[in-house]
């Protein structure tokens, strides 16, 4: 994990640059174990920055959320950069955005931090949901050391860490202007065990499983809104001419929305797990998106968000592509 003082120093240098608007990082939340995204414009504000396994949000979403409002006559657009603190998976989001030209390389200063896993908020809530005082966590390899009000406690890492992180193959940022912290040497392998579990069931069993989950969806669209890659100006779910997905909440529309979104993000989703984290109804979305990710690897031998020069998978074709499905 990063040395906090060193990280703050590096970020202060970035913030003071003339061509940088602000840096996005993490700061302590308002209660308990919560951590909140933070925007620092001055070195004093950088002193609030922290980095720990509690920093779960994918900050890349802020790069596409900034509104470009029409400016009054005579006022020039401020062409400054945005600094962003990214871990391994978040850096793949940034690369994916660069590949799709949603942002340009000159717009960002990337501060990469090698990451050995973040916590699962639902498990944190179960264990520490009653603590209103600050909960701090340190990663000590196999264990997490939790400090609340001065009292220390040790918990096995695998009881709190996010499921996604257990099989993460990209713990080091794949792109960075500055790397803060030591590179992580261990290599994990994604085995898709949960996906295979579902794949082995019959079609009817699989439908029954997802039917029960999709029926509970309340169509808040939080999964879509927190995803950095879902940045269409007009989402297919909001379109009225023609209506692809009706506004009413029912099994058919909910299933339609989720299946369509997983296909629209095929080859673009990097598996950060934000969608499952924000879902208020606890729908196991990562199973759905990991399945699409697995299919993309098997069909096209392609992994999203690794090389910014690469062309996005489903936006290009070559004349050798299989034509068997054309009758």
């Amino acid at each position: 994990m990063a040395d906090l003082a060193k990280m703050r120093n590096e970020i202060k240098k970035i913030v003071q640059r003339d061509d940088v608007k602000y840096v996005i990082g993490y700061e302590k939340g308002t209660y308990g174990w919560r951590v909140s995204p933070s925007f620092a414009r001055t070195p004093e504000e950088v002193d609030k920055f922290i980095f720990s396994p509690l920093c779960v949000n994918n900050l890349a979403v802020y790069l596409v959320l900034e509104e470009k409002l029409p400016l009054p006559k005579g006022v020039e657009e401020e062409k400054k950069k945005i600094g962003i603190v990214v871990t391994g998976c978040d850096s793949r989001s940034v690369v994916q955005l660069l590949q799709e030209k949603a942002i340009s390389r000159d717009d960002v200063v990337i501060l990469g931090v090698p990451c050995s896993g973040v916590v699962e908020p639902k498990k944190m809530k179960e264990m520490f949901g009653k603590e209103i005082g600050t909960v701090a966590i340190e990663d000590k390899g196999e264990k997490y050391v939790i400090v609340i009000d001065g009292k220390r406690r040790e918990v096995l890492k695998e009881e709190l860490v996010s499921e996604n992180c257990k099989t993460c193959e990209y713990q080091n940022p794949v792109i960075s202007d500055i790397l803060i912290g030591d590179e992580i040497k261990e290599k994990k392998k994604e085995s898709y065990s949960k996906v295979r579990e579902l794949e082995e069931k019959s079609t009817q069993e699989r439908w029954d499983y997802w039917k029960e989950k999709f029926e509970r969806c309340i169509r808040c669209y939080a999964c879509r809104n927190c995803c950095p890659v879902c940045n269409c100006k007009e989402c297919m779910a909001e379109k009225t001419t023609p209506v692809w997905i009706r506004r009413s909440v029912s099994l058919s529309e909910n299933a339609g929305f989720h299946i369509m979104r997983s296909l629209h993000t095929a080859g673009r989703c990097i598996g950060c797990g934000s969608c499952e984290r924000v879902c208020p109804m606890n729908i196991p979305l990562s199973k759905l998106y990991k399945k699409v990710e697995k299919d993309v690897i098997e069909l096209f031998d392609y992994r999203a968000g690794l090389d910014e020069e690469e062309k996005p998978l489903l936006s290009v074709y070559s004349v050798d592509d299989s034509n068997e499905y054309i009758l």
């Binding site: 308002t30 009653k130 909440v249």
Partner: protein
């Protein structure tokens, strides 16, 4: 009433449509139940508020046939509902929502359901860490909006009746209920006092309306709204949020007009067909939401449209904290 008699009560109540807290996959919501085994009693507060009983996520306002001969038909309202186990804050939210749905044009869909629904509340023995109902005229034993309130004592529920509907439940099954003694009442007061003392979050909202009036253009809103990602979870899970959309769903021959939940944090919420949007940036929408709850609603209806349930703080993935924002407002 003795706790072990709750099963019998549920049996009698489920002759109507009974809604109670049910847990699925770690999420507690209010759903139709028939057996007492399905009900989850040891919960702090449901994740989705029971507003979907009176104001459903999707509701058909009327059906119609198309073609040469167009006809319009309103669906019939069905029977009586009972909500068991609702917390005092959520019940109070209904008396707040009543004001907007009943003013000027009576919303018959909401008010018919409201009239036909009996609310049996369960007071909180322990508050959640983000609860702040006491700061907003609420309380763990507050009976506003409720027909009957149960407080869990050791082996019994202390039952208080607030309206005629609540009285009718006792009159329906008198053998389940017995008179409470002064001892019981004292115990209940102790439990309520203890629960309220455990509530950590407190904020004074005195003069908040006037203060907000003055600081509309303050830089605070820029800072506060920067981290909002517009996910709309806070609006869907808020017991007093009432924004909705009206859509038509039809085939060539027939269709229906529906009312569905919508959220003001959606960028397209106020987008006009000409392309002009009065609230184009997140600062406009975040500020509008906070002002709607703490300034516009009080200006129109004399009550703050927030019950202090804390769900928005719990569920926000970027830790937007209304209590923190309000304390910053007071400091300006």
């Amino acid at each position: 009433m003795r706790k072990d008699r709750i099963g019998k009560l549920v049996q009698i109540l489920s002759r109507n449509t009974l809604y109670a807290p049910v847990e699925r996959d770690g999420v507690t919501t209010f759903e139709k139940v028939e057996k007492v085994e399905d009900i989850k009693f040891d919960y702090q507060n449901s994740d989705v508020p029971p507003k979907n009983v009176l104001f459903p996520q999707t509701e058909t306002t009327f059906k119609y046939t198309l073609g040469k001969d167009q006809k319009i038909e309103v669906p019939k309202e069905n029977g009586k509902n009972i909500i068991l186990g609702i917390r005092p804050c959520d019940a109070r939210s209904f008396s707040i929502l009543d004001k907007v749905f009943e003013k000027d044009f009576l919303d018959i869909y909401y008010s018919e359901k409201r009239e036909n629904t009996t609310l049996i509340g369960l007071s909180c023995n322990e508050p959640g860490i983000n609860c702040f109902c006491t700061s907003l005229d609420g309380g763990v034993g507050n009976k506003e909006g409720l027909d009957m309130l149960l407080t869990a004592l050791e082996d019994e529920y202390f039952v208080e009746v607030a309206t005629d509907k609540g009285k009718a439940i006792i009159e329906n099954s008198p053998d389940l209920f017995s008179d409470a003694s002064d001892e019981h009442a004292k115990k209940k007061d102790e439990i309520n006092k203890r629960a309220e003392s455990l509530m950590k979050r407190r904020i004074s909202v005195e003069g908040i309306e006037e203060k907000l009036d003055k600081i509309f253009d303050d830089d605070l809103w820029n800072e506060v709204s920067m981290k909002c990602i517009g996910c709309s979870v806070c609006t869907y899970l808020c017991p007093t949020c009432h924004c909705f959309d009206i859509q038509d769903e039809a085939t060539l021959r027939e269709g229906r007009r529906i009312r569905v939940w919508d959220s003001c944090s959606n960028p397209e919420y106020t987008l006009q067909a000409s392309g002009y949007n009065p609230r184009p940036a997140r600062i406009n929408r975040v500020r509008n939401r906070i002002y709607h709850k703490y300034e516009y609603y009080p200006k129109n209806f004399k009550v703050i449209a927030c019950v202090g349930c804390g769900r928005c703080i719990d569920k926000c993935s970027v830790n937007m904290d209304i209590v923190e924002v309000l304390s910053r407002v007071k400091e300006i």
